[in-house]
């Protein structure tokens, strides 16, 4: 039992990261109908920036603050400089650009900081408390920071004029322009926010998975899965999906180990948790193609 709670708790912690990545993906998807494959590598690159600042002697939080700002500007710049000219390009060319960005950030990070694995400090103090046996302080920190981030974004989109303008621009670009919203800038802003969210996800997960150019690869995959399961067009659904995938993968490993112990048969273990989690995701998508909370868009012809 204790182990089960432990597994769920750590599933929630990694789920929080998947939720952030999923949210970043959804933000760009709802605004542009594109899945940004480079989201993970952008987050990885941001995490390196944060690490570098810490190496130069900045305390963690100011370093993260600066990293968020940097990532935001980087995201805006990518949209304005690289994607803007491609507005009327076909989906495939845009996919190629995303893959190109992925490769560029990957080798850039490797080139600047080398491919060796680095330790990334956790900003959260190691303390012992009543539930320490179940969950580590960094894991709690991950969950808290992610939730704060999610609430801040929710409040931004729900209650500020700019947030409303961004939602309007994503829903109906033509109508948005007709009420005076600068839709192009809203897209750039969406990219900036997505990059900033990715940066937070990267800095939170780096102490766990260690810093290296490949650190976000599987996380991006889980983030995708979470976003798709929850419904790629629904931010709240994507966040839920992220948490779900996180818990799911740990439960798969847990029950796998359990069956092995009780029956002596090895079915699944730690090594297969990604596989099984993805099988579950695919099953859900086969049954509900729009995701658990996604809306099926009906187009009138």
């Amino acid at each position: 039992m204790e182990q089960l709670i432990q597994q769920i708790a750590s599933g929630l912690a990694s789920g929080a990261i998947y939720a952030l990545v999923a949210l970043a993906l959804v933000m760009i998807f709802t605004a542009t109908d594109h899945l940004n494959f480079a989201q993970g590598e952008m987050a990885m690159f941001s995490t390196y920036i944060c690490w570098q600042l810490i190496q130069w002697g900045f305390p963690f939080w100011p370093a993260l603050g600066f990293t968020i700002l940097f990532s935001f500007l980087l995201g805006v710049a990518i949209e304005r400089v690289i994607l803007r000219p491609l507005h009327n390009a076909s989906v495939l060319s845009i996919v190629v650009v995303f893959i190109g960005l992925l490769a560029i950030f990957h080798s850039l990070a490797g080139g600047i900081w080398s491919h060796t694995i680095k330790n990334f400090p956790s900003p959260f103090p190691t303390v012992t408390f009543a539930g320490s046996g179940y969950i580590g302080s960094h894991q709690i920190g991950m969950i808290v920071v992610s939730l704060l981030m999610l609430f801040a974004l929710f409040a931004f989109f729900r209650f500020t004029p700019l947030g409303l303008a961004m939602r309007a621009a994503a829903q109906n670009p033509v109508s948005a322009r007709l009420v005076g919203v600068k839709v192009d800038w809203m897209l750039a802003l969406g990219w900036g926010l997505a990059a900033a969210v990715g940066a937070v996800a990267g800095a939170m997960v780096a102490p766990v998975v260690y810093l290296e150019p490949n650190m976000m690869a599987s996380i991006l995959l889980y983030g995708f899965a979470g976003a798709l399961v929850g419904g790629i067009s629904n931010p709240a659904g994507a966040v839920f999906g992220g948490f779900m995938v996180g818990v799911l993968e740990n439960l798969v490993a847990y029950f796998g180990n359990l069956t092995e112990k009780t029956f002596g048969i090895y079915i699944v273990g730690n090594g297969e948790k990604l596989t099984v989690a993805l099988i579950i995701v695919i099953t859900i998508l086969t049954l509900k193609p729009a995701g658990l909370f996604g809306r099926t868009t009906v187009k009138r012809v």
Binding site: L164, R167, A168, N172, A176, V179, G180, V181
Partner: protein, 237 residues
């Protein structure tokens, strides 16, 4: 008095296809003008060209300012409110948010308040449904919302694209009645595109008839209504 909108030699393109072939007309300050014409005559395209939603050439002068090179959002902010074909509702936003977003560009906060009150006196139904998702409104209510949203921009000129489309006659009557009131009480000039020519000629003082991208006839509505050609082609008697 100088015209509010002066268009000359207007061409518009969809890709490489020229859809308007040098259109010219003017719109008087404070009045309602209608564009008549069959399907594909270029009525909607004319409105889209004015608000910069399609590539265009030629001269468009609004209130003494050339706007043919301006971006849609800037034209909107100058005071041209386009009520698009199909209403352009933000279906996922609430009725309130649909109205609010149109007023963000405005500096005169007292004017925003006044216009919101005006919207609710014109369309009390929208006030009842203020918190509802706009996508759940009926077609007529969405048209009311589209006109209200345009009004919230504090416009000098409204471009109305088929406001009667797909609506029951009673609702159409109500909406056209309110359009006249907006024109008279709020002093908003209007350029109306309508399939229903009888309706349009009753509301508007002046009319232009378009055929395949050019103006073929124009004059006061009262005169056009009695023109035999117009009667046969557009009024059906």
């Amino acid at each position: 008095m100088a015209p509010l909108l002066e268009i000359s030699g207007l061409k518009a393109y969809y890709g490489a296809t020229e859809a308007l072939h040098g259109l010219s007309f003017t719109l008087a300050q404070g009045g309602i003008t209608t564009l008549l014409g069959a399907n594909g005559a270029g009525k909607t395209t004319t409105l889209r060209a004015i608000s910069g939603l399609v590539r265009r050439e030629g001269s468009i002068v609004f209130d003494g300012r050339p706007i043919e090179r301006m971006a849609t959002e800037d034209i909107t902010r100058l005071g041209v409110a386009h009520v698009p074909e199909g209403r352009g509702t933000f279906v996922g936003l609430s009725v309130e948010e649909n109205l609010k977003i149109a007023s963000y560009g405005r500096r005169d906060k007292s004017g925003v308040k006044r216009d919101l009150d005006l919207v609710f006196t014109y369309f009390p139904r929208l006030k009842e449904r203020i918190a509802q998702q706009a996508g759940t409104l009926s077609g007529g209510e969405q048209q009311m919302l589209a006109i209200s949203r345009a009004l919230m921009l504090g416009p000098r000129l409204m471009l109305l694209d088929e406001p009667s489309f797909g609506l029951a006659p009673l609702i159409v009557q109500e909406i056209f009645h309110i359009m006249r009131r907006i024109n008279e009480e709020a002093g908003v000039s209007m350029l109306l595109v309508e399939q229903n020519a009888a309706l349009a000629l009753n509301l508007a003082e002046n009319a232009y008839v378009l055929e395949t991208g050019t103006v073929v006839m124009s004059g006061p509505s009262a005169e056009l209504k009695n023109d035999e050609g117009i009667r046969k082609s557009y009024l059906g008697y």
